[in-house]
Symmetry: C2
Subunit: 262 residues, 2 copies
Protein backbone atom coordinates (compact mmCIF):
# COMPACT_ATOMS: atom_id res chain seq x y z
CA UNK A 1 0.00 0.00 0.00
CA UNK A 2 1.42 3.38 -0.92
CA UNK A 3 2.31 5.92 1.73
CA UNK A 4 -0.27 8.69 2.13
CA UNK A 5 0.90 12.28 2.34
CA UNK A 6 -0.98 14.73 4.57
CA UNK A 7 -0.85 18.45 5.27
CA UNK A 8 -1.37 19.14 8.97
CA UNK A 9 -1.31 22.29 11.08
CA UNK A 10 0.69 20.90 14.03
CA UNK A 11 4.43 21.31 14.55
CA UNK A 12 6.54 18.39 13.40
CA UNK A 13 9.57 17.07 15.32
CA UNK A 14 11.07 13.61 15.84
CA UNK A 15 9.18 11.64 18.47
CA UNK A 16 6.35 14.18 18.64
CA UNK A 17 2.65 13.43 18.42
CA UNK A 18 0.82 15.43 15.77
CA UNK A 19 -2.97 15.60 16.16
CA UNK A 20 -4.89 14.64 13.01
CA UNK A 21 -8.18 16.44 12.30
CA UNK A 22 -11.45 14.53 12.30
CA UNK A 23 -11.99 14.88 8.54
CA UNK A 24 -8.49 13.56 7.91
CA UNK A 25 -9.07 10.63 10.26
CA UNK A 26 -12.22 9.81 8.31
CA UNK A 27 -10.31 10.04 5.03
CA UNK A 28 -7.48 7.83 6.30
CA UNK A 29 -9.67 5.16 7.87
CA UNK A 30 -12.78 4.97 5.73
CA UNK A 31 -11.70 6.24 2.31
CA UNK A 32 -8.11 5.01 2.15
CA UNK A 33 -8.61 2.06 4.57
CA UNK A 34 -5.56 2.77 6.70
CA UNK A 35 -5.26 1.20 10.13
CA UNK A 36 -3.15 1.44 13.30
CA UNK A 37 0.53 1.85 12.44
CA UNK A 38 -0.04 2.92 8.81
CA UNK A 39 2.91 4.84 7.41
CA UNK A 40 2.33 8.51 6.55
CA UNK A 41 4.27 11.46 5.19
CA UNK A 42 3.45 14.77 6.87
CA UNK A 43 4.20 18.42 6.09
CA UNK A 44 2.99 21.67 7.61
CA UNK A 45 4.64 24.32 5.45
CA UNK A 46 7.26 25.07 8.14
CA UNK A 47 9.14 21.97 9.28
CA UNK A 48 9.80 20.05 6.07
CA UNK A 49 8.45 16.57 5.40
CA UNK A 50 8.43 13.74 7.96
CA UNK A 51 7.62 10.07 8.09
CA UNK A 52 5.09 9.16 10.73
CA UNK A 53 2.82 6.33 11.74
CA UNK A 54 -0.87 6.41 12.49
CA UNK A 55 -1.95 5.87 16.08
CA UNK A 56 -5.69 5.56 16.64
CA UNK A 57 -7.27 7.13 19.71
CA UNK A 58 -10.84 5.91 19.55
CA UNK A 59 -13.25 5.80 16.62
CA UNK A 60 -12.85 9.31 15.27
CA UNK A 61 -9.56 10.50 16.73
CA UNK A 62 -5.96 9.77 15.88
CA UNK A 63 -2.47 11.21 16.14
CA UNK A 64 0.59 10.73 13.99
CA UNK A 65 3.74 9.58 15.75
CA UNK A 66 6.41 11.63 13.99
CA UNK A 67 9.55 9.71 13.07
CA UNK A 68 12.23 11.13 10.78
CA UNK A 69 12.61 14.09 8.44
CA UNK A 70 12.68 13.11 4.75
CA UNK A 71 13.07 16.64 3.34
CA UNK A 72 14.06 20.04 4.69
CA UNK A 73 11.69 22.97 4.22
CA UNK A 74 13.03 25.03 1.31
CA UNK A 75 12.40 28.60 0.24
CA UNK A 76 9.78 28.96 -2.49
CA UNK A 77 9.25 31.71 -5.06
CA UNK A 78 7.33 34.74 -3.73
CA UNK A 79 4.68 34.72 -6.43
CA UNK A 80 1.06 35.81 -6.10
CA UNK A 81 -1.72 34.87 -8.48
CA UNK A 82 -4.39 37.59 -8.68
CA UNK A 83 -7.45 36.39 -10.59
CA UNK A 84 -11.07 37.37 -11.07
CA UNK A 85 -13.37 34.67 -9.67
CA UNK A 86 -14.93 32.44 -12.31
CA UNK A 87 -17.34 29.56 -12.29
CA UNK A 88 -16.97 26.72 -9.86
CA UNK A 89 -15.19 24.00 -11.83
CA UNK A 90 -12.77 26.50 -13.33
CA UNK A 91 -11.91 28.16 -10.03
CA UNK A 92 -11.29 24.73 -8.46
CA UNK A 93 -9.00 24.11 -11.33
CA UNK A 94 -7.10 27.36 -10.79
CA UNK A 95 -6.55 26.53 -7.10
CA UNK A 96 -5.31 23.04 -7.92
CA UNK A 97 -3.05 23.94 -10.82
CA UNK A 98 -1.65 27.12 -9.26
CA UNK A 99 -0.66 25.04 -6.22
CA UNK A 100 1.15 22.51 -8.41
CA UNK A 101 2.80 25.39 -10.24
CA UNK A 102 4.08 26.82 -6.96
CA UNK A 103 2.23 30.06 -6.20
CA UNK A 104 2.62 31.45 -2.68
CA UNK A 105 -0.66 33.41 -2.59
CA UNK A 106 -4.04 32.96 -4.29
CA UNK A 107 -5.75 36.37 -4.37
CA UNK A 108 -9.28 36.58 -5.82
CA UNK A 109 -9.88 40.06 -7.25
CA UNK A 110 -13.29 41.63 -7.90
CA UNK A 111 -13.45 43.73 -11.05
CA UNK A 112 -16.21 45.60 -12.81
CA UNK A 113 -16.80 42.77 -15.28
CA UNK A 114 -16.33 39.91 -12.86
CA UNK A 115 -19.08 37.40 -13.54
CA UNK A 116 -18.96 35.75 -10.12
CA UNK A 117 -18.83 37.75 -6.91
CA UNK A 118 -18.84 35.03 -4.27
CA UNK A 119 -15.88 32.85 -3.62
CA UNK A 120 -15.97 29.75 -1.43
CA UNK A 121 -12.61 30.22 0.27
CA UNK A 122 -12.84 26.96 2.22
CA UNK A 123 -13.30 25.09 -1.03
CA UNK A 124 -10.39 26.91 -2.68
CA UNK A 125 -8.22 26.06 0.30
CA UNK A 126 -9.30 22.40 0.28
CA UNK A 127 -8.37 22.18 -3.40
CA UNK A 128 -4.99 23.77 -2.72
CA UNK A 129 -4.28 21.38 0.18
CA UNK A 130 -5.21 18.31 -1.85
CA UNK A 131 -2.99 19.44 -4.73
CA UNK A 132 -0.07 20.07 -2.35
CA UNK A 133 -0.53 16.65 -0.72
CA UNK A 134 -0.57 14.80 -4.00
CA UNK A 135 2.24 16.60 -5.78
CA UNK A 136 5.06 16.57 -3.21
CA UNK A 137 4.82 20.27 -2.44
CA UNK A 138 6.06 21.19 1.05
CA UNK A 139 3.65 24.08 1.61
CA UNK A 140 0.11 25.20 0.82
CA UNK A 141 -0.49 28.57 -0.82
CA UNK A 142 -2.21 31.23 1.28
CA UNK A 143 -5.80 31.74 0.08
CA UNK A 144 -6.78 35.38 0.62
CA UNK A 145 -10.25 36.88 0.86
CA UNK A 146 -11.55 38.53 -2.33
CA UNK A 147 -10.68 42.21 -2.68
CA UNK A 148 -11.84 44.95 -5.06
CA UNK A 149 -9.23 45.67 -7.73
CA UNK A 150 -9.11 49.36 -6.75
CA UNK A 151 -8.35 48.57 -3.11
CA UNK A 152 -5.75 45.96 -4.04
CA UNK A 153 -3.93 48.50 -6.21
CA UNK A 154 -4.15 51.28 -3.55
CA UNK A 155 -2.31 49.06 -1.11
CA UNK A 156 0.01 47.45 -3.65
CA UNK A 157 3.30 46.52 -1.90
CA UNK A 158 6.30 48.62 -2.93
CA UNK A 159 8.70 46.60 -5.02
CA UNK A 160 6.29 43.81 -5.99
CA UNK A 161 6.28 43.50 -9.79
CA UNK A 162 3.01 42.94 -11.59
CA UNK A 163 2.82 40.75 -14.70
CA UNK A 164 -0.42 41.66 -16.42
CA UNK A 165 -1.93 39.21 -18.88
CA UNK A 166 -4.43 41.18 -20.89
CA UNK A 167 -6.56 39.03 -23.14
CA UNK A 168 -7.81 42.01 -25.13
CA UNK A 169 -4.48 41.63 -26.91
CA UNK A 170 -1.70 43.90 -27.95
CA UNK A 171 0.80 42.79 -25.31
CA UNK A 172 4.39 42.00 -26.27
CA UNK A 173 5.38 38.31 -26.22
CA UNK A 174 5.81 36.94 -22.68
CA UNK A 175 9.09 35.10 -23.32
CA UNK A 176 10.70 38.16 -24.89
CA UNK A 177 9.58 40.39 -22.01
CA UNK A 178 10.71 38.01 -19.27
CA UNK A 179 14.06 37.33 -20.96
CA UNK A 180 14.79 41.07 -21.18
CA UNK A 181 14.24 41.85 -17.47
CA UNK A 182 17.19 43.24 -15.52
CA UNK A 183 18.56 41.20 -12.58
CA UNK A 184 16.74 43.33 -9.96
CA UNK A 185 13.43 42.70 -11.68
CA UNK A 186 14.14 38.99 -12.06
CA UNK A 187 14.82 38.61 -8.34
CA UNK A 188 11.90 40.77 -7.15
CA UNK A 189 8.69 39.40 -5.67
CA UNK A 190 6.04 39.14 -8.38
CA UNK A 191 2.33 38.90 -8.91
CA UNK A 192 0.54 37.62 -11.99
CA UNK A 193 -2.77 39.34 -12.77
CA UNK A 194 -5.38 37.60 -14.92
CA UNK A 195 -8.38 39.63 -16.04
CA UNK A 196 -12.00 38.55 -15.85
CA UNK A 197 -13.65 36.76 -18.80
CA UNK A 198 -15.28 40.07 -19.76
CA UNK A 199 -11.94 41.92 -19.78
CA UNK A 200 -10.87 44.82 -17.59
CA UNK A 201 -12.88 48.05 -17.77
CA UNK A 202 -11.04 51.06 -19.25
CA UNK A 203 -10.71 52.73 -15.83
CA UNK A 204 -9.32 49.51 -14.39
CA UNK A 205 -6.72 49.23 -17.14
CA UNK A 206 -5.65 52.80 -16.38
CA UNK A 207 -5.37 52.06 -12.67
CA UNK A 208 -3.32 48.95 -13.43
CA UNK A 209 -0.95 50.90 -15.65
CA UNK A 210 -0.33 53.41 -12.84
CA UNK A 211 1.31 50.66 -10.74
CA UNK A 212 5.00 51.44 -10.89
CA UNK A 213 6.35 48.04 -11.80
CA UNK A 214 3.66 46.72 -14.12
CA UNK A 215 4.64 44.63 -17.15
CA UNK A 216 1.96 43.81 -19.73
CA UNK A 217 2.37 40.68 -21.80
CA UNK A 218 0.49 38.81 -24.49
CA UNK A 219 -0.10 35.07 -24.51
CA UNK A 220 -0.31 34.44 -28.22
CA UNK A 221 -2.86 34.78 -31.00
CA UNK A 222 -5.57 32.53 -29.57
CA UNK A 223 -7.88 33.87 -26.88
CA UNK A 224 -7.29 31.92 -23.68
CA UNK A 225 -9.93 31.34 -21.06
CA UNK A 226 -9.06 32.93 -17.72
CA UNK A 227 -8.03 29.63 -16.15
CA UNK A 228 -5.82 28.69 -19.10
CA UNK A 229 -4.20 32.13 -19.10
CA UNK A 230 -3.45 31.83 -15.37
CA UNK A 231 -1.80 28.48 -15.81
CA UNK A 232 0.12 29.40 -18.92
CA UNK A 233 1.50 32.58 -17.33
CA UNK A 234 2.48 30.69 -14.16
CA UNK A 235 4.31 28.03 -16.19
CA UNK A 236 6.22 30.63 -18.21
CA UNK A 237 7.10 32.61 -15.08
CA UNK A 238 8.35 29.53 -13.23
CA UNK A 239 10.35 28.35 -16.26
CA UNK A 240 12.00 31.72 -16.90
CA UNK A 241 12.15 33.44 -13.48
CA UNK A 242 11.12 30.91 -10.85
CA UNK A 243 12.40 27.69 -9.36
CA UNK A 244 12.16 25.68 -12.57
CA UNK A 245 15.50 27.25 -13.50
CA UNK A 246 17.29 24.85 -11.17
CA UNK A 247 17.80 21.24 -12.27
CA UNK A 248 15.14 19.07 -10.66
CA UNK A 249 16.23 16.47 -8.14
CA UNK A 250 15.75 12.87 -9.17
CA UNK A 251 13.10 11.25 -7.01
CA UNK A 252 14.02 8.37 -4.80
CA UNK A 253 11.48 5.62 -4.88
CA UNK A 254 11.42 5.29 -1.07
CA UNK A 255 8.48 6.74 0.70
CA UNK A 256 7.04 8.18 -2.49
CA UNK A 257 3.37 8.82 -2.19
CA UNK A 258 0.53 7.48 -4.23
CA UNK A 259 -0.29 9.76 -7.11
CA UNK A 260 -3.97 9.02 -6.98
CA UNK A 261 -5.86 11.63 -8.96
CA UNK A 262 -9.09 11.93 -7.09
CA UNK B 1 -27.15 38.85 -28.18
CA UNK B 2 -23.56 37.85 -28.82
CA UNK B 3 -22.53 36.21 -32.06
CA UNK B 4 -22.05 32.45 -31.78
CA UNK B 5 -19.01 30.86 -33.31
CA UNK B 6 -19.23 27.40 -34.88
CA UNK B 7 -16.84 24.88 -36.35
CA UNK B 8 -18.34 23.19 -39.41
CA UNK B 9 -17.05 20.66 -41.94
CA UNK B 10 -18.38 22.36 -45.10
CA UNK B 11 -16.42 24.66 -47.40
CA UNK B 12 -16.87 28.37 -46.77
CA UNK B 13 -17.17 30.98 -49.54
CA UNK B 14 -19.12 34.21 -49.91
CA UNK B 15 -22.76 33.55 -50.84
CA UNK B 16 -22.46 29.82 -50.19
CA UNK B 17 -24.80 27.71 -48.11
CA UNK B 18 -23.07 25.67 -45.44
CA UNK B 19 -25.06 22.76 -44.00
CA UNK B 20 -25.28 22.75 -40.20
CA UNK B 21 -25.34 19.38 -38.43
CA UNK B 22 -28.39 18.29 -36.46
CA UNK B 23 -26.64 18.51 -33.08
CA UNK B 24 -25.49 22.04 -33.90
CA UNK B 25 -29.00 23.03 -34.99
CA UNK B 26 -30.31 21.77 -31.64
CA UNK B 27 -27.62 23.73 -29.82
CA UNK B 28 -28.33 26.91 -31.76
CA UNK B 29 -32.12 26.76 -31.46
CA UNK B 30 -32.85 25.16 -28.13
CA UNK B 31 -29.77 25.85 -26.00
CA UNK B 32 -28.74 29.26 -27.31
CA UNK B 33 -32.26 30.32 -28.46
CA UNK B 34 -31.17 31.55 -31.86
CA UNK B 35 -33.77 32.02 -34.60
CA UNK B 36 -33.99 32.64 -38.36
CA UNK B 37 -31.39 35.18 -39.45
CA UNK B 38 -29.22 34.91 -36.32
CA UNK B 39 -25.66 36.06 -36.94
CA UNK B 40 -22.93 33.43 -36.76
CA UNK B 41 -19.17 33.17 -37.16
CA UNK B 42 -18.00 30.01 -38.94
CA UNK B 43 -14.64 28.31 -39.42
CA UNK B 44 -13.64 24.95 -40.88
CA UNK B 45 -9.87 24.88 -40.40
CA UNK B 46 -9.23 25.64 -44.11
CA UNK B 47 -11.02 28.78 -45.29
CA UNK B 48 -10.56 31.25 -42.43
CA UNK B 49 -13.45 32.74 -40.45
CA UNK B 50 -16.69 34.01 -41.98
CA UNK B 51 -19.79 35.83 -40.91
CA UNK B 52 -22.98 34.03 -41.76
CA UNK B 53 -26.66 34.04 -40.93
CA UNK B 54 -28.86 31.18 -39.82
CA UNK B 55 -31.49 29.95 -42.28
CA UNK B 56 -33.90 27.36 -40.91
CA UNK B 57 -35.02 24.47 -43.12
CA UNK B 58 -37.65 22.77 -41.02
CA UNK B 59 -37.61 21.79 -37.36
CA UNK B 60 -34.25 20.05 -37.17
CA UNK B 61 -32.36 21.30 -40.22
CA UNK B 62 -30.65 24.55 -41.06
CA UNK B 63 -27.97 26.04 -43.26
CA UNK B 64 -25.71 29.02 -42.76
CA UNK B 65 -25.75 31.64 -45.50
CA UNK B 66 -22.08 32.59 -45.71
CA UNK B 67 -21.40 36.33 -45.99
CA UNK B 68 -17.93 37.81 -45.61
CA UNK B 69 -14.52 36.67 -44.45
CA UNK B 70 -13.43 38.17 -41.13
CA UNK B 71 -10.04 36.45 -40.88
CA UNK B 72 -7.74 34.60 -43.26
CA UNK B 73 -6.63 31.07 -42.40
CA UNK B 74 -3.10 31.34 -40.99
CA UNK B 75 -0.36 28.76 -40.58
CA UNK B 76 -0.19 27.25 -37.11
CA UNK B 77 2.70 25.62 -35.26
CA UNK B 78 3.25 21.96 -36.17
CA UNK B 79 3.13 20.68 -32.60
CA UNK B 80 1.90 17.29 -31.41
CA UNK B 81 0.93 16.46 -27.87
CA UNK B 82 1.58 12.80 -27.04
CA UNK B 83 0.05 11.84 -23.71
CA UNK B 84 -0.89 8.71 -21.80
CA UNK B 85 -4.66 8.54 -21.30
CA UNK B 86 -5.82 9.49 -17.81
CA UNK B 87 -9.12 9.67 -16.03
CA UNK B 88 -12.08 11.28 -17.66
CA UNK B 89 -12.19 14.79 -16.21
CA UNK B 90 -8.46 15.21 -16.65
CA UNK B 91 -8.39 13.97 -20.23
CA UNK B 92 -11.27 16.33 -21.11
CA UNK B 93 -9.18 19.02 -19.60
CA UNK B 94 -6.12 18.10 -21.67
CA UNK B 95 -8.16 18.23 -24.90
CA UNK B 96 -9.63 21.60 -24.02
CA UNK B 97 -6.46 23.27 -22.80
CA UNK B 98 -4.21 21.83 -25.50
CA UNK B 99 -6.62 23.24 -28.10
CA UNK B 100 -6.48 26.69 -26.54
CA UNK B 101 -2.70 26.37 -26.40
CA UNK B 102 -2.56 25.61 -30.10
CA UNK B 103 -1.56 21.97 -30.61
CA UNK B 104 -2.03 20.53 -34.10
CA UNK B 105 -2.37 16.86 -33.07
CA UNK B 106 -3.61 15.13 -29.91
CA UNK B 107 -2.02 11.67 -29.79
CA UNK B 108 -3.01 9.32 -26.94
CA UNK B 109 -0.16 6.91 -26.20
CA UNK B 110 -0.47 3.60 -24.38
CA UNK B 111 2.44 2.78 -22.10
CA UNK B 112 3.20 -0.02 -19.69
CA UNK B 113 2.03 1.99 -16.69
CA UNK B 114 -0.91 3.70 -18.34
CA UNK B 115 -3.81 3.55 -15.89
CA UNK B 116 -6.54 3.95 -18.49
CA UNK B 117 -6.56 1.99 -21.75
CA UNK B 118 -9.76 3.18 -23.37
CA UNK B 119 -10.12 6.61 -24.84
CA UNK B 120 -13.40 8.11 -25.98
CA UNK B 121 -12.15 9.81 -29.13
CA UNK B 122 -15.53 11.37 -29.95
CA UNK B 123 -15.56 13.00 -26.56
CA UNK B 124 -11.98 14.24 -26.93
CA UNK B 125 -12.86 15.69 -30.31
CA UNK B 126 -16.03 17.36 -28.98
CA UNK B 127 -13.98 19.00 -26.23
CA UNK B 128 -11.42 20.20 -28.75
CA UNK B 129 -14.13 21.63 -31.04
CA UNK B 130 -15.83 23.45 -28.19
CA UNK B 131 -12.53 24.93 -27.04
CA UNK B 132 -11.69 26.08 -30.58
CA UNK B 133 -15.15 27.65 -31.01
CA UNK B 134 -14.95 29.57 -27.78
CA UNK B 135 -11.39 30.78 -27.98
CA UNK B 136 -11.15 32.24 -31.50
CA UNK B 137 -8.99 29.46 -32.85
CA UNK B 138 -9.32 28.94 -36.64
CA UNK B 139 -8.77 25.18 -36.61
CA UNK B 140 -9.42 22.10 -34.51
CA UNK B 141 -6.56 19.78 -33.58
CA UNK B 142 -6.56 16.34 -35.14
CA UNK B 143 -7.46 13.70 -32.55
CA UNK B 144 -5.62 10.45 -33.35
CA UNK B 145 -6.44 6.93 -32.24
CA UNK B 146 -4.44 5.61 -29.26
CA UNK B 147 -1.20 3.88 -30.19
CA UNK B 148 1.29 1.79 -28.24
CA UNK B 149 4.42 3.76 -27.36
CA UNK B 150 6.67 1.18 -29.06
CA UNK B 151 4.77 1.45 -32.35
CA UNK B 152 4.69 5.25 -32.20
CA UNK B 153 8.46 5.33 -31.78
CA UNK B 154 9.07 2.75 -34.56
CA UNK B 155 7.28 4.99 -37.03
CA UNK B 156 8.53 8.29 -35.59
CA UNK B 157 8.72 10.85 -38.44
CA UNK B 158 12.25 11.83 -39.46
CA UNK B 159 13.02 15.37 -38.37
CA UNK B 160 10.27 15.70 -35.76
CA UNK B 161 11.82 16.75 -32.46
CA UNK B 162 10.59 15.20 -29.24
CA UNK B 163 10.40 17.20 -26.02
CA UNK B 164 10.19 14.68 -23.23
CA UNK B 165 8.82 15.76 -19.88
CA UNK B 166 9.88 13.12 -17.41
CA UNK B 167 8.32 13.55 -14.01
CA UNK B 168 10.74 11.13 -12.37
CA UNK B 169 13.05 14.12 -12.34
CA UNK B 170 16.59 14.80 -13.33
CA UNK B 171 15.83 16.78 -16.49
CA UNK B 172 17.58 20.08 -17.18
CA UNK B 173 15.42 23.23 -16.87
CA UNK B 174 12.99 23.64 -19.78
CA UNK B 175 13.66 27.36 -20.37
CA UNK B 176 17.43 26.81 -20.48
CA UNK B 177 17.08 23.90 -22.90
CA UNK B 178 14.67 25.68 -25.26
CA UNK B 179 16.71 28.91 -25.24
CA UNK B 180 19.86 27.00 -26.24
CA UNK B 181 18.39 25.26 -29.31
CA UNK B 182 19.97 26.01 -32.67
CA UNK B 183 17.83 27.68 -35.38
CA UNK B 184 17.19 24.39 -37.24
CA UNK B 185 15.83 22.82 -34.05
CA UNK B 186 13.73 25.88 -33.24
CA UNK B 187 12.05 25.77 -36.64
CA UNK B 188 11.52 22.01 -36.76
CA UNK B 189 8.19 20.28 -36.20
CA UNK B 190 7.92 19.17 -32.57
CA UNK B 191 6.08 16.78 -30.31
CA UNK B 192 5.71 17.04 -26.55
CA UNK B 193 5.60 13.71 -24.72
CA UNK B 194 4.04 13.48 -21.26
CA UNK B 195 4.47 10.25 -19.33
CA UNK B 196 1.74 8.33 -17.53
CA UNK B 197 1.02 9.01 -13.85
CA UNK B 198 3.00 5.88 -12.99
CA UNK B 199 6.05 7.04 -14.97
CA UNK B 200 7.64 5.37 -17.99
CA UNK B 201 9.00 1.82 -17.61
CA UNK B 202 12.79 1.48 -17.88
CA UNK B 203 12.55 -0.15 -21.34
CA UNK B 204 10.27 2.66 -22.50
CA UNK B 205 12.71 5.31 -21.32
CA UNK B 206 15.46 3.55 -23.27
CA UNK B 207 13.32 3.41 -26.41
CA UNK B 208 12.51 7.11 -26.04
CA UNK B 209 16.17 8.01 -25.71
CA UNK B 210 16.94 6.15 -28.95
CA UNK B 211 14.84 8.69 -30.88
CA UNK B 212 17.37 10.84 -32.66
CA UNK B 213 16.05 14.25 -31.78
CA UNK B 214 14.82 13.73 -28.24
CA UNK B 215 15.27 16.47 -25.67
CA UNK B 216 14.52 15.69 -22.02
CA UNK B 217 13.47 18.53 -19.76
CA UNK B 218 12.45 19.01 -16.16
CA UNK B 219 9.48 21.06 -15.02
CA UNK B 220 10.68 22.16 -11.62
CA UNK B 221 10.93 20.73 -8.13
CA UNK B 222 7.24 19.96 -7.56
CA UNK B 223 5.74 16.82 -9.05
CA UNK B 224 3.13 17.83 -11.62
CA UNK B 225 0.11 15.74 -12.47
CA UNK B 226 0.13 14.57 -16.09
CA UNK B 227 -2.45 17.14 -17.18
CA UNK B 228 -0.58 19.99 -15.50
CA UNK B 229 2.71 18.88 -17.04
CA UNK B 230 1.11 18.79 -20.50
CA UNK B 231 -0.23 22.29 -20.15
CA UNK B 232 2.89 23.73 -18.63
CA UNK B 233 5.13 22.26 -21.34
CA UNK B 234 2.78 23.51 -24.08
CA UNK B 235 2.77 27.03 -22.63
CA UNK B 236 6.57 27.13 -22.39
CA UNK B 237 6.97 25.75 -25.91
CA UNK B 238 4.52 28.27 -27.40
CA UNK B 239 6.14 31.14 -25.50
CA UNK B 240 9.72 30.24 -26.48
CA UNK B 241 9.41 28.44 -29.84
CA UNK B 242 5.83 28.81 -31.03
CA UNK B 243 3.47 31.51 -32.19
CA UNK B 244 3.42 33.40 -28.90
CA UNK B 245 6.71 34.95 -30.03
CA UNK B 246 4.81 37.29 -32.34
CA UNK B 247 3.01 40.30 -30.82
CA UNK B 248 -0.67 39.49 -30.45
CA UNK B 249 -3.16 41.41 -32.57
CA UNK B 250 -5.52 43.68 -30.66
CA UNK B 251 -9.07 42.38 -30.92
CA UNK B 252 -11.69 44.45 -32.58
CA UNK B 253 -14.96 44.42 -30.71
CA UNK B 254 -17.03 43.77 -33.84
CA UNK B 255 -18.32 40.30 -34.25
CA UNK B 256 -16.57 39.07 -31.17
CA UNK B 257 -18.09 35.94 -29.85
CA UNK B 258 -19.57 35.21 -26.49
CA UNK B 259 -17.02 33.72 -24.17
CA UNK B 260 -19.49 31.58 -22.34
CA UNK B 261 -17.65 29.00 -20.31
CA UNK B 262 -19.93 26.02 -20.38
Amino acid sequence: MSVLRLFIEADLAAGGEAPIGEAQVHYLRHVMRRDEGAKLLLFNGRDGEWTASLSLRGKKAAVAIVEARTREQAAEPDLWLCFAPIKRARIDFIAEKATELGVAVLQPVLTRHTAVDRVNLERLRANAIEAAEQTERLSVPEVRAPIELGRLLEQWPAGRRLLMCDETGGGPPIAEVLAALDPAARDAPWAIMIGPEGGFAAAELEALRRIKDVTSVGLGPRILRADTAALAALACWQAMLGDWRKPTPRLSSDYRTSKVTR
